[in-house]
């Protein structure tokens, strides 16, 4: 019986296993192997060399870049969590009609159907030196000269990240909130809890799984990104993803692979630690 149960499970899961084995496990193994190889300007040479790691781990730039990656991740996480939670809370607990809630939620998702890259670059005419934001600020007399840090700065990078990724926070939080038993909220209110107390003692604890899932999404997306940072910083700042993509562009696959392996280890450690706080499978 147990054998046939295992067999049935494996048969049904076989396609998934095959895809993940072929397009995830094998590629990551390859990256791992190649990270010990060496490269010329145009080809990669099988070898066993720690030179890539040595260069990576001894360069101060590596640490700056990893630090920058963490800073972006932390800022974006904080902002998307704040915004995502508030929006989800508003939709789940303040909107009374099911239909309105549906429409408002869809309203939040529509921009996410436009190409990420287009949404990113559409900030440029808005934030530029002669962009809409500066024109508005100047015509209102708030500033005399255009504000430079609006574009091609850390500000614009974080702004674009938040813009691109907030939905990944809203959706899981909204999802868990909708499953909170309303009678719990009623009971708390009947017992004289204030709105703030209900929020901190009932809703936030019960929304934790959603917050965790959202956190995992956002951290994974921000830490692995390379294109947002390139566009929004005008190539002026770098996160780990850009380090990798620069190396790839210059055909330095082994050194890109070494950086990838370090990034992978860091991401998996962080996500693994987060997973301890929530049983994703049960909480969906």
């Amino acid at each position: 019986m147990a054998v046939s149960r295992n067999l049935q499970g494996w048969l049904l899961a076989a396609p998934l296993t095959a895809v993940l084995a072929g397009f995830l496990v094998l590629p990551i193994l390859t990256i791992f192997i190649v990270s010990f190889w060496q490269a010329t300007e145009f080809s990669i040479i099988p070898a066993f060399s720690l030179e890539n790691y040595q260069f990576l781990l001894t360069s101060p730039v590596t640490y700056q870049v990893f630090f920058k990656t963490f800073v972006y991740a932390a800022l974006v996480w904080g902002l998307t969590l704040g915004i995502g939670f508030t929006v989800a809370y508003y939709l789940a607990f303040h909107i009374r009609s099911e239909a309105t809630r549906m429409v408002l939620f869809l309203l939040c998702t529509i921009p996410f159907l436009t190409s990420n890259i287009i949404r990113m670059i559409s900030w440029i005419p808005f934030l530029g030196r002669n962009g809409l934001a500066n024109q508005a600020l100047m015509s209102l007399g708030i500033v005399d000269a255009p504000v430079e840090w609006l574009l091609y700065s850390d500000f614009s990078v974080v702004l674009a990240f938040v813009h691109l990724n907030t939905l990944f926070m809203i959706t899981p939080i909204f999802n868990t909130m909708m499953r909170i038993d309303r009678s719990l909220v009623e009971a708390a209110r009947d017992n004289g809890a204030s709105g703030r107390q209900i929020l901190t003692h009932v809703i936030i604890p019960l929304s934790k799984p959603g917050i965790m899932i959202g956190t995992i999404f956002v951290l994974a997306l921000v830490m692995g990104d390379f294109i947002t940072v390139r566009f929004m910083s005008g190539s002026q700042s770098a996160n780990v993803g850009r380090l990798i993509s620069n190396d790839i562009a210059l055909l330095q696959y082994p050194s890109a692979s070494a950086t990838s392996i370090v990034l992978l280890a860091v991401v998996l450690l962080i996500i693994g630690a987060l997973m301890r706080f929530v049983n994703i499978r049960k909480e969906l």
Partner: protein
């Protein structure tokens, strides 16, 4: 069937039939087969224009598929995906990187009709007999190999050419004269604190490092042995100077393809930057003043050419030669010269340009009437003349070519650090 036709063509090419064949336009003979031929060309957006593909279809009958990429992706594809293309439209410094992979095949110059008319720069390296070859990866140094199949470059002209030169130009800094308001004469101005937050440089290491070298040398901060082949110490110094400037906020952004530079310049984000000629043209055609400023230290030059994939054989290879001969026969050259580049065989392009256009673009004369770009937009009014003057004045003042150095890998790593710092 296809083989038979092909052999008929071979027969036709030989013996008495040669006369008949050359009397007829050659493509007519294999008109049926050639419709089915597709050549896949890729390269930078500079010359991978769909207009060229259309014209090929009209005049030669076969299909030319174009894919435009940035320089780094072009290098990558040429080096690692030899099956993904038939014709590579690459720059000479890319050729230096890619040729040793053996992904390209050398071309027999005896099959190139206009070979004799190709400008000297691409053959012995000399524009005029008195010229001196500039520093860097000059096209003649990577233009020939000893024989078909050889992966080492020949020191002198041989029968086997690596790339058939297509376009080239002399680059300098682009400026917004309206926003700067004073004359700019030296490369050193790029790091002038006056332009803090309003300068830009391109993020393509092989080209960017040369612009940097021009700047460092002009400001007297570094004396190079050979800019085109720096030592590690020279690379370190150069990058250090620019890293410092970057940290001080000198640069607004870096750009990777010329269109980005157009946007930076047109929107006023940047007032002085490394730039390419058509980018200046594009800014001007929007009615925004922009000058491709000749500087006293000279130009940084680049050249591009067409290379053939080693997998091309038989009819496809014939079609490729057909295409290359057509490319050098004038129409494309004129089309590209109208955007500010130079054609490798200017003599043939002259027939496809009006005397006014020829005078403006090649001879550096004031325009007799308005000059329009290939898409019909007016970009120079009557009386204006080209920045930098004539072909010989501009190409005669080349200080260095885009290059790949012996320490290229080290440079690339330092460049990556510069971008990341």
């Amino acid at each position: 069937m296809s083989k038979m036709r092909y052999s008929r063509r071979s027969i036709l090419k030989s013996g008495a039939a040669v006369a008949a064949a050359s009397a007829l336009p050659a493509p007519m003979i294999w008109a049926q087969e050639i419709k089915n031929i597709t050549l896949r060309q890729f390269g930078t957006g500079v010359s991978n224009l769909n207009e060229v593909g259309q014209k090929v279809k009209e005049e030669l009958g076969f299909t030319l598929e174009m894919t435009a990429l940035d320089s780094d992706s072009v290098t990558q594809r040429a080096a690692t995906q030899p099956d993904s293309f038939d014709i590579a439209d690459i720059e000479y410094w890319i050729c230096k990187k890619v040729w040793p992979t053996g992904n390209l095949q050398a071309m027999d110059t005896t099959k190139i009709k206009n070979y004799d008319k190709i400008v000297g720069i691409f053959k012995d390296g000399k524009l005029t007999p008195e010229s001196v070859v500039a520093q860097g990866t000059a096209p003649n140094t990577v233009g020939f190999v000893e024989g078909p199949g050889s992966t080492a470059f020949a020191k002198e002209q041989t029968q086997w050419m690596t790339l058939i030169p297509t376009i080239y130009n002399a680059d300098t800094l682009g400026i917004r004269p309206d926003l700067i308001g004073r004359p700019i004469e030296s490369w050193a101005e790029l790091l002038n604190p006056e332009f803090k937050g309003k300068a830009s440089i391109l993020d393509i290491s092989s080209i960017g490092i040369m612009d940097m070298a021009m700047v460092c040398e002009a400001s007297g901060k570094i004396k190079y042995g050979d800019k085109g082949n720096m030592t590690r110490a020279e690379i370190d110094q150069t990058i250090a100077i620019f890293t410092e400037a970057k940290k001080a906020g000198q640069f607004r952004a870096f750009w990777k393809s010329f269109d980005e530079s157009v946007n930076l310049m047109a929107s006023g984000e940047v007032v002085i930057q490394s730039m390419w000629s058509p980018a200046v043209t594009a800014v001007k055609s929007r009615g925004i003043p922009c000058v491709f400023q000749p500087l006293k230290e000279g130009y940084r030059a680049w050249g591009g050419g067409l290379g053939l994939s080693k997998s091309l054989t038989g009819m496809q290879l014939d079609a490729a030669y057909e295409y290359i001969n057509w490319y050098l026969s004038g129409w494309v050259g004129a089309f590209l010269m109208r955007q500010g580049y130079y054609s490798a065989v200017p003599a043939t392009s002259k027939d496809f340009m009006t005397p006014n256009e020829w005078g403006y673009w090649f001879e550096g004369k004031p325009a007799a009437e308005d000059i329009a770009d290939p898409f019909g937009k007016v970009m120079a009014k009557a009386g204006e003349s080209r920045d930098g003057g004539s072909f010989y004045e501009r190409m005669g003042h080349v200080a260095c070519w885009n290059s790949v150095m012996d320490e290229n890998q080290y440079m690339v790593r330092k460049w990556n650090e510069f971008i990341a710092s």
